[in-house]
């Protein structure tokens, strides 16, 4: 799994790129997306990354936080991140307005094996904010649509209000070349809701996408992962064809601060993308 290259030789390893906030979108009451443009035109021109990589987004004076890069590598000049309000740094990020400057360090980590997914069927399974890293891969695939076979997306959230990227869900629904199954948990539906009602693992089981010549890419809360894995297994997806992205508490993002390891595996260096086969080998400390 290749990692993208940072273009600018920075003055110091921990110096971030300066990013201008170009847009901020409230996905849900507590989840926001920021679109960030590189202040330096040279960086904007040459910045590359691979789907699945992450970065550290920082408000100077408050701190940094780790999120995946939620926009696809096929779109140049900007990156996007989506985050849930959780603490000090995410609160500060929410106070940032369009036009203000924040810092970005990255891209770090490994990535999804896009090239190996060519000519295959891809099943995306996501829950809640877990759609953010998956969305990066979805658009990466859709921007190169004819290189891949069937695309199925199963996505759910607790309630209709908790669905992220609502405008894109609509886009995917309206495309003829994607099958989107959207769902909300029982009790989360509104009167106008036209999608499924049920937990993601259940809905996935009912959708029953074929595992023939297919890979699965999933991300969501731990409880969703726990119940989705057996469903995928039953559908015939072997652990080495199911990919997920893990998160762990991070600070440096580049293998030096010693914080994110699960056993001998560093989430920031050996991950954050793992196959289920690799995940099964991890000791129980995440």
């Amino acid at each position: 799994m290749e990692s993208g290259a940072a273009v600018q030789v920075k003055q110091s390893l921990y110096m971030p790129y300066l990013m201008r906030v170009a847009d901020r979108i409230d996905e849900t009451p507590d989840i926001r997306t920021l679109r960030l443009e590189f202040q330096d035109p040279g960086v904007a021109e040459g910045f590359q990354f691979d789907a699945g990589q992450f970065g550290l987004y920082g408000v100077f004076g408050e701190g940094e936080s780790t999120f995946c890069i939620a926009s696809p590598p096929t779109r140049k000049g900007y990156i996007e991140c989506s985050f849930k309000l959780a603490g000090k740094v995410t609160s500060a990020l929410r106070r940032i307005e369009v036009g203000e400057i924040i810092g970005f360090r990255g891209p770090y980590g490994n990535s999804f094996p896009i090239e190996e997914m060519k000519d295959k069927n891809i099943v995306f399974v996501a829950g809640g904010i877990g759609l953010a890293p998956v969305r990066c891969v979805i658009w990466n695939v859709l921007d190169r649509r004819d290189e891949f076979n069937d695309v199925t997306i199963v996505y759910g959230a607790r309630t209709v209000a908790d669905l992220v990227y609502k405008r894109e869900l609509k886009e995917w629904e309206e495309r003829g070349d994607v099958t989107l199954i959207k769902a909300v948990d029982p009790g989360g539906e509104t009167e106008e809701w036209d999608g499924k009602v049920g937990f993601v693992p259940t809905v996935l089981g009912e959708t029953a996408p074929s595992s023939e010549n297919a890979v699965a890419i999933m991300c969501g809360p731990p409880i969703m992962i726990k119940f989705t894995l057996p469903v995928l297994s039953e559908l015939g997806f072997t652990p080495n064809r199911v990919y997920t992205t893990l998160e762990n508490k991070m600070k440096c993002g580049l293998g030096k601060c010693g914080r994110c390891n699960i056993g001998s595996v560093y989430v920031c260096k050996d991950g954050p993308v793992f196959t289920c086969e690799e995940m099964n080998k991890l000791p129980d400390e995440y």
Binding site: G63, G87, K88, S91
Partner: protein, 284 residues
């Protein structure tokens, strides 16, 4: 010692307690370390003598989750340790009925060079004040003097500028390892003030300014609750004069409120209450 082992065996066999927290020989170095005995057949490991410097009350804190999960504890306590347990009970960190106190008469603990620890020379609780069982012969500390008090007096005799310079020099060696906090039974907060980020009350960085904020705040938070066990200074790898700092705080509390560290959990902490009789000459 046999008394202790017999009692421990009885407490464990009868399931009155599920773990005995005491001291055992450390496998290397000739000293002692904390022991957690759960099997009545293991009580031979328990020892008590002048090497037993640790204040084991720290293991009763709520944040010691692994110890808490072991069940109802019995704990070996010297006089100072018993006062710390009283402090934990007073601050609702453990119920009196949830711990079995094995008090031991103590003639003082020795430091690495073989001399009596400074805190022991001024000890007024060789017999623990709070206990369920009281073991050992009555003890008397064979030593005199108050080197800790003298150290405080020497610091106080310095001019304000010199005293500031002295403390800046001492504080510059601190790395914020938090050994002082973790070894203190009364520092039981599960989210310490220096770990709070919104707002960041105390800089977590180990520059002298951050170190000053931390140590002063800690001293203030412990005022009226510190029992003078001296563990903070023993734990500090950088040799900060923490026992002297806390001695000064205890002296001020005694001066202002007439209160000394107490082994009575019913007694309200001096800064934990308000009385009409409190000196308010501070307000002019």
């Amino acid at each position: 010692m046999e008394e202790l082992r017999t009692l421990a065996r009885e407490l464990l066999s009868s399931d009155k307690v599920q773990v005995v927290i005491g001291y055992e020989d450390a496998p290397r170095g000739g000293g002692v370390r904390a022991a957690f005995i759960t099997d009545p057949d293991d009580v031979e490991r328990l020892v008590f003598d002048e090497r037993c410097k640790n204040n084991l009350a720290v293991y009763l804190q709520k944040k010691r989750k692994q110890i808490r999960s072991m069940g109802r504890p019995a704990i070996v306590v010297k006089g100072c340790d018993a006062r710390a347990v009283a402090g934990l009970i007073r601050d609702s960190q453990i119920g009196r009925e949830n711990v079995e106190l094995i008090g031991v008469h103590c003639a003082g603990v020795k430091t690495e060079d073989g001399s009596l620890d400074a805190r022991c020379l001024v000890c007024d609780c060789t017999a623990p004040e709070l206990y369920d069982h009281l073991l050992g012969p009555e003890a008397e500390v064979q030593g005199e003097g108050d080197p800790l008090g003298e150290k405080v007096a020497a610091m106080e005799s310095l001019s304000a500028d010199d005293r500031w310079d002295l403390w800046m020099k001492e504080l510059s060696r601190c790395t914020r390892c938090n050994a002082c906090r973790e070894v203190c039974p009364i520092c039981f907060c599960e989210r310490c003030v220096q770990d709070k980020t919104v707002p960041q009350w105390i800089d977590s960085s180990a520059h002298t300014q951050g170190n000053l904020s931390w140590h002063v705040t800690r001293a203030m938070h412990l005022a009226g609750r510190c029992v003078g066990c001296g563990e903070c200074e023993r734990a500090c790898h950088a040799g900060l004069p923490l026992a002297a700092l806390m001695r000064k705080v205890r002296d001020i509390v005694e001066g202002s409120f007439g209160e000394k560290p107490s082994g009575d959990p019913e007694k309200v902490a001096p800064l934990g209450t308000f009385s009409q009789e409190d000196d308010d000459s501070l307000f002019k």
